[in-house]
């Protein structure tokens, strides 16, 4: 009976109520999407590399080395010489290693030179391996394997020819040495999807006629001649390393960091990621703080709306009293009103959130490489909902008590 009355009363003020619900829903949605992006970004990042014990590169900050070598974002790090790399992997602690060479691109996608170990050793999402969906491994010098994202966006298939550009811009192409797609990888949800993979020798081959960053004019070594050349790599960007025993890792790390011949650094991926997260965490907390403030503001807004409607509704209340409602029922009615508004807002905001995420998910994945999980609500969200309903009811007590006084004073005749 009371519920029906409240519903009808709300319905009578449909426009105001709808706008209030909309405002609150937006603020709740803001909070939830910040939270959702935060957790998704974290899992996306941590899922990208697994079972690699150390990343070795030139001396730089651990975050930069991690971002560049694994996520291929941020500024390039220096390269390290092949000799140093060999010194490192000849240490008895090292079980396996994957050299990585970055620097060139194809239509905006990074080209990565590596060897067959990469396909065996690179693991993501708790130990999953990358798999070829179509085609073969890198058998020929001019074979490339592309990630699922590259294939999808450029509409490539096995056998499509491909030209690698020098650097990140397509100003100068390695067009004298065309590649052929030999394989396409299955989707991983990691930066590998957006990578063009070639052999380390191919990276050397395309730079045969290049000297100090520019093509030597007029010099084109025929492909046949290049195939005969010694193409063993001279330098690499970074290396992923696995150790025999975790107990040896810090000793190896220290040895690499103190390696006298070249300035190297070695990082533990999880440690670097944690470091990055401590930096990002500040911004995250700021965003969370803002969205919580917005929720509070809308709560206050809701109270203000109920408050301002009180005067107009003194007649309504008088009628309730005439029908036999006690002043306490008036309090209940108003609190119920707030409760209905907040529950409706929660439903609307959740629907809006999932619709928005559903629409934006492919774009976020493509642009930032973050796979947003849109399947479930977090437990934390449920807590926040409960907290929100509780605080909405508490806040609504203020206008409710005022209405209570009105109804006691007014009785059935309104004195204005």
């Amino acid at each position: 009976m009371l519920l029906k009355l409240t519903f009808n009363s709300l319905y009578a003020r449909l426009l105001t109520v709808a706008m209030t619900v909309f405002a609150i829903s937006l603020s709740l949605m803001l909070y939830m999407s910040v939270e959702k992006l935060r957790t998704s970004a974290y899992t996306s990042f941590t899922d990208t590399i697994s079972q690699t014990d150390l990343i070795v590169g030139a001396r730089t900050s651990s975050v930069q080395l991690l971002l560049y070598s694994v996520f291929r974002i941020g500024n390039a790090t220096n390269n390290i010489t092949w000799e140093s790399y060999e010194d490192v992997i000849n240490k008895k602690e090292v079980a396996w290693s994957v050299p990585i060479s970055l620097g060139d691109s194809h239509k905006g996608f990074r080209v990565m030179g590596t060897n067959s170990e990469f396909f065996k050793r690179y693991k993501f999402r708790g130990g999953q391996s990358i798999e070829l969906e179509q085609g073969n491994n890198l058998d020929d010098l001019y074979d490339v394997i592309i990630g699922a994202g590259v294939a999808e966006k450029l509409n490539y298939s096995v056998g499509t020819p491909l030209i690698v550009s020098h650097g990140l811009q397509s100003f100068s192409d390695h067009d004298d040495q065309p590649f052929k797609i030999s394989g396409i990888l299955a989707k991983t949800g990691t930066p590998v999807d957006n990578t063009v993979i070639v052999s380390l020798e191919a990276i050397e081959a395309i730079h045969v006629d290049w000297s100090t960053g520019a093509k030597i004019p007029g010099q084109i070594t025929p492909v046949e001649e290049i195939r005969q050349m010694d193409l063993s790599p001279k330098n690499i960007t970074a290396a992923l390393i696995g150790v025999n025993s975790k107990l040896q890792i810090f000793q190896l790390q220290r040895w690499i960091n103190e390696y006298p011949e070249e300035s190297l650094s070695s990082i533990l991926p999880g440690v670097a990621l944690q470091e990055l997260w401590r930096i990002v965490g500040v911004v995250e907390n700021l965003l969370l703080g803002i969205s919580v403030t917005v929720i509070f503001t809308t709560l206050i807004g809701m109270t203000a709306i109920i408050f301002s409607s009180l005067n107009e509704r003194r007649r309504e209340m008088a009628i309730w009293r005439a029908m036999g409602a006690s002043p306490k029922v008036v309090i209940g009615l108003l609190m119920l009103e707030a409760l209905i508004i907040s529950v409706m807002s929660i439903i609307v905001s959740t629907v809006m959130l999932f619709l928005t995420l559903y629409v934006l998910q492919p774009w976020i994945d493509n642009t930032y490489g973050i796979l947003v999980n849109i399947e479930t609500l977090a437990v934390k969200d449920i807590y926040i909902f409960m907290l929100f309903i509780l605080s909405a009811s508490l806040v609504s007590l203020i206008p409710a008590i005022r209405a209570y006084w009105f109804s006691i004073n007014d009785g059935m005749t309104i004195k204005i």
Binding site: S50, D53, S245, K246, I249, F250, P260, L268, V271, R278
Partner: protein, 194 residues
């Protein structure tokens, strides 16, 4: 006057060019920040501390006065009992397998020598100004139930009142992570990480 400056400048430049031939590296050293490495493999867990002398005894020059020597020896003795530094949950059934405690002294002409002998620092010469020393301690445990290590507590902060924070690198088969531990919350949560 001007010429003297030029001469001095060119002298500086030449020495720089000459010495550029050799590789020079200096380790990081930040007072108030100790490093801790924790590695887990099978039923073994190892703790490796590297802590600036200033955080432990309040100075880093070569101890010469009886008072300073006593302080250092006292600190090394404190490290000898790991429970002064950290504690593991008793239900993890961890037994100390081996330990190594040392004072690493570095000066300008650092050659990365380890001075494991506690008393050796008496013989060092005067490099008081440039000296940086570091307490090194490594403890290795065999655990009956290593998964029960859900938390590690650090009485370290209470034991050494000069101590700042501890930067922890942690690795197990579950992957690597890091922690920053400070005196106001002297523990790390390793639940689900071993």
């Amino acid at each position: 006057m001007k010429y003297i400056i030029y001469i001095l400048l060119s002298f500086n430049l030449t020495t720089f060019i000459i010495s550029a031939e050799e590789t020079r590296q200096v380790d990081k050293h930040e007072h108030g920040v100790g490093e801790l490495n924790i590695a887990v493999e099978g039923s073994t867990i190892e703790f490796e501390f590297m802590i600036p002398g200033a955080d432990i005894v309040g100075f880093e020059y070569v101890a010469k006065s009886d008072d300073d020597i006593a302080k250092i020896n006292q600190a090394l003795k404190t490290f000898d009992d790991y429970t002064n530094i950290f504690t593991l949950p008793s239900n993890s059934l961890c037994e100390l397998d081996s330990q190594k405690v040392a004072l690493k002294e570095e000066d300008e002409h650092d050659d990365h020598d380890e001075h494991e002998d506690h008393d050796e620092h008496d013989d060092q010469d005067e490099h008081a100004e440039e000296n940086h020393n570091e307490f090194y301690a490594k403890y290795s445990f065999e655990c009956g139930n290593i998964n029960a290590i859900k938390e590690v507590n650090f009485p370290y902060f209470a034991t050494f009142t000069n101590s700042g924070e501890l930067e922890v690198q942690f690795i197990s088969n579950m992957g690597s992570t890091s922690f920053e531990v400070e005196g106001d919350e002297p523990s790390i949560n390793t639940d689900g990480k071993i």
